[in-house]
């Protein structure tokens, strides 16, 4: 049992800090700290800086340009980036598709696609959910029919985050309907510029355009874009979903979010004292802080177990549930902390360069929208109900 970082790890931490200090543009960290909208260019700028340093693909082995970091290093990097207000790494290519290709892709696919992720040529998005296939993902119906060297794809995907920015989409498609629904699913890479791909924005409850519906009509996809074997996509999808879950737990973001919350709660007043000293609010904060401290250790335990080859299936689900609960509670307390100023919403105030006088405290503008937006955390990446199903399956053995 040793929870302390080794000297090497501490040195690594300093290295990351120095790097961030020297290379994270203040314009970006200011935007992230203020929770302003990030543009596609903002993300690309940060990705390029990390790629230059060789630190973009933290989940890839070195031979493909990844960092090959240990569990502890990845943890340190995530926390340092988050607390320095670096933009989050967009996960679709780097943390989701990349590992799938490295594990299940052909040599050719790896050589073609992985460098393009690293150098920013391709912005990926994810085509898993469908209107009729949410929690019941395996019931998906978007169909691909093989015709010679091509698949013809027809159907619909939904909840595609940042689909509006994407060049390429990795999809689960149905190639066989005859057996169990988990069988007959294939994992296909589709160029978003292909004829027959149409994108329709979905407006969320905070008014933002973040997710999309995507329609495929007779879209022709080279058969070379099939990952792994036809009809075996469910296996690859499950591997990807486990990675996604751990990402959504988001310990780094939680730590950064909690620190930001502490500042708000010190700044907000409850009569003649900071809100932080209000007994009820202080109790909420302390419970949250303890939950977070516990979750940090649970996270490290799960990562260490995964590093040793113990299957992290139930653990990653527990992390996803508790991690998202904590992140939601952080945004919920920020909203509560604002008091009456949780109500005004000037959407333009979330864009860079907006110079009007803020309504209420300067940090107030994005808080309620952020709270509302983060309701997604317990829904996407496999809803927290689905995570409970996974846990039960693992421990109950019925």
């Amino acid at each position: 049992m040793d929870l302390d970082f080794s000297d090497e790890e501490l040195e690594f931490q300093s290295e990351v800090q120095s790097f961030l200090h020297a290379n994270l543009p203040k314009r970006l960290s200011d935007k992230v700290k203020a929770r302003l909208r990030l543009t596609k260019q903002d993300h690309e700028e940060w990705h390029a800086i990390l790629a230059d340093r060789g630190w973009l693909a933290t989940h890839w082995p070195p031979e493909w340009g990844g960092t090959g970091w240990s569990v502890a290093q990845r943890f340190i990097f995530d926390v340092e980036c988050a607390t320095a207000h670096a933009p989050e790494i967009i996960p679709f290519g780097l943390k989701m598709l990349g590992p799938v290709l490295i594990r299940y892709g052909t040599e050719e696919q790896k050589r073609h696609w992985l460098p393009r992720i690293l150098d920013g040529t391709d912005w990926w998005c994810q085509g898993f959910s469908e209107p009729g296939a949410g929690s019941d993902l395996a019931s998906l119906r978007c169909a691909a029919v093989r015709e010679g060297d091509e698949y013809i794809v027809n159907g619909q995907k939904t909840w595609t985050t940042f689909g509006q920015h994407a060049d390429v989409i990795f999809c689960l498609v149905r190639t066989d309907s005859s057996g169990k629904k988990q069988q007959g699913i294939s994992f296909l890479l589709i160029d978003m510029k292909s004829p027959g791909v149409e994108l329709r924005p979905i407006r969320l409850l905070d008014g933002e355009h973040e997710v999309n519906e995507i329609f495929f009509t007779d879209v022709r996809v080279p058969a070379a874009n099939l990952v792994g074997e036809e009809d075996h996509g469910w296996t690859y999808a499950k591997y990807l979903l486990t990675l996604e879950r751990t990402g959504i737990a988001g310990v780094g973001q939680a730590i950064a979010g909690f620190r930001a919350l502490q500042e708000i709660v010190q700044d907000q007043r409850d009569g003649h004292q900071p809100l932080a000293q209000n007994p009820l609010f202080a109790t909420r904060m302390a419970r949250l802080e303890i939950d977070l401290e516990n979750m940090k250790t649970t996270n490290l335990r799960a990562l260490c177990a995964a590093g040793k080859g113990d299957g992290p299936v139930a653990e990653s689900s527990m992390l996803k549930i508790r991690g998202t609960e904590i992140r939601q509670e952080i945004t919920s307390l920020a909203r509560r902390a604002l008091g009456p100023y949780a109500q005004p919403f000037v959407s333009e105030a979330l864009d860079e360069g907006f110079n009007n006088e803020p309504i209420g405290p300067g940090y107030a503008a994005p808080i309620t929208a952020d709270y509302l937006n983060n309701r997604k955390l317990s829904i996407y990446g496999g809803s927290n109900e689905i995570q409970r199903e996974i846990i039960v399956k693992a421990i109950l053995e019925l």
Partner: protein, 384 residues
């Protein structure tokens, strides 16, 4: 003991419900709530013609009802349709004027739909507490002028007259009184409103007063007592609005559970969701009981009234957050879309928690009243 409404009040509720269902559809509401004005004068006139504003005030004040349960049924209907019209400000300001015993002509104008009122008490640093009021009034000849700022007042741009809480003494006198209530005409030099959209629809604004002319409402030094009463009535109204919102969310969520299919069955067949839905239904009934208790106590002495009002708003705040978050979760991704009415009901329910005190504020207030033996009518603010 009887939990049904008398016939005339039931008729009022039905009339309003029918009107809103017909003429204030979800599409109408979305248009009005997102408009640059943030409310609709034509709707306001129609509501006045239906007698809705009259139902909020007593016969003495020119209305025809004005009891706690009359206010309750009106705001319950408002909640069912998410109407954004400036009823709350008109109710609170009007009751302050009614209770102070002057300005009956203005109440009559409000009842007729010719005047919109707002009630501005909170300030940037006051959070929800009325006594943390630094807006200053000073005597100027026969009248008064006020200088200072008020924060996040709903539909204040719509208001023709604003009832403002202001400081009339630098420190409390022997009776603890340092504040008075004033009536300020919106259309004058010295009144500046910085309006903005609210995240749940409609608009609010920041009020800046710079030597604005004002008329004293009631007696000097009565400000906090009058404000407390107006806030109690506003809190009651919001609680019942929340009941209307929650009932609607319940209906919408039950319908979704019946019709949304996953794993080849309606998701309402999943026991884990069923049990959570049962809990929501149970909590909503508890919230309704809390709102009934507050209405029943509105005419009781201060201690009983304020305790029940804070118990209700605490319950509404707690249950409201649960209902909003659970309803979204039970809907899944679809519950997060702008397109679905549900998300707007959920937002409104959450934001009711940020009006006139959230669950923590009212729980503390309930505890303070529980601990305090005193129930002196003149001592305003939380008793501890």
């Amino acid at each position: 003991m009887d939990f049904s409404h008398p016939e005339d009040r039931q008729m009022l509720a039905d009339t309003l419900g029918r009107y809103l269902a017909d003429k204030y559809t979800f599409e109408d509401r979305a248009r009005i709530a997102g408009s640059t004005q943030g409310w609709c004068r034509e709707q306001w006139s129609s509501l006045a013609q239906l007698g809705i504003m009259g139902a909020l005030f007593s016969e003495e004040a020119g209305g025809y009802c004005g009891g706690a349960f009359d206010i309750a049924v009106v705001f319950e209907q408002v909640g069912k349709t998410l109407a954004v019209e400036p009823l709350l400000g008109t109710l609170m300001a009007g009751h302050a004027l009614e209770h102070a015993g002057n300005e009956h002509a203005l109440i009559a104008e409000a009842i007729a739909g010719n005047a919109v009122l707002a009630f501005a008490f909170q300030e940037a640093a006051s959070r929800y507490a009325p006594h943390l009021c630094d807006c200053a009034a000073k005597q100027a000849g026969e009248g008064w002028t006020i200088t200072g700022a008020k924060a996040v007042t709903p539909q204040i741009e719509a208001a023709d007259h604003i009832v403002v809480l202001a400081r009339t003494a630098s420190s409390p006198d022997a009776q603890g009184a340092a504040h008075s209530l004033f009536l300020v005409a919106a259309d004058q030099a010295g009144v500046a409103i910085n309006g903005y959209p609210m995240i749940d629809g409609g608009r609010g604004g920041e009020l800046a007063l710079n030597n604005a002319n004002a008329r004293l409402v009631g007696n000097r030094g009565d400000g906090l007592a009058l404000a407390e009463r107006a806030i109690a009535i506003g809190t009651l109204a919001l609680s019942w609005e929340a009941i209307g919102v929650m009932d609607t969310i319940k209906v919408q969520t039950l319908e979704f559970l019946r019709t949304r299919t996953q794993f080849s069955v309606p998701i309402g067949k999943f026991q884990a969701l069923q049990h959570r839905m049962a809990t929501l239904a149970l909590e909503i009934e508890q919230a309704r009981s809390a709102a009934i208790n507050a209405a029943a106590a509105l005419e009781a002495e201060r201690h009983t009234r304020e305790r029940a009002v804070s118990a209700a708003k605490f319950t509404i705040g707690q249950v409201g957050t649960l209902v909003a978050e659970e309803a979204i979760q039970l809907h899944g991704g679809i519950g997060m879309t702008w397109e679905l009415p549900l998300s707007h009901y959920a937002k409104r329910l959450l934001m009711i928690g940020h009006q006139l005190g959230d669950e923590d504020y009212h729980l503390e207030r309930f505890m303070a009243f529980s601990a305090a033996e005193t129930s002196v009518e003149t001592q305003a603010g939380a008793p501890a």
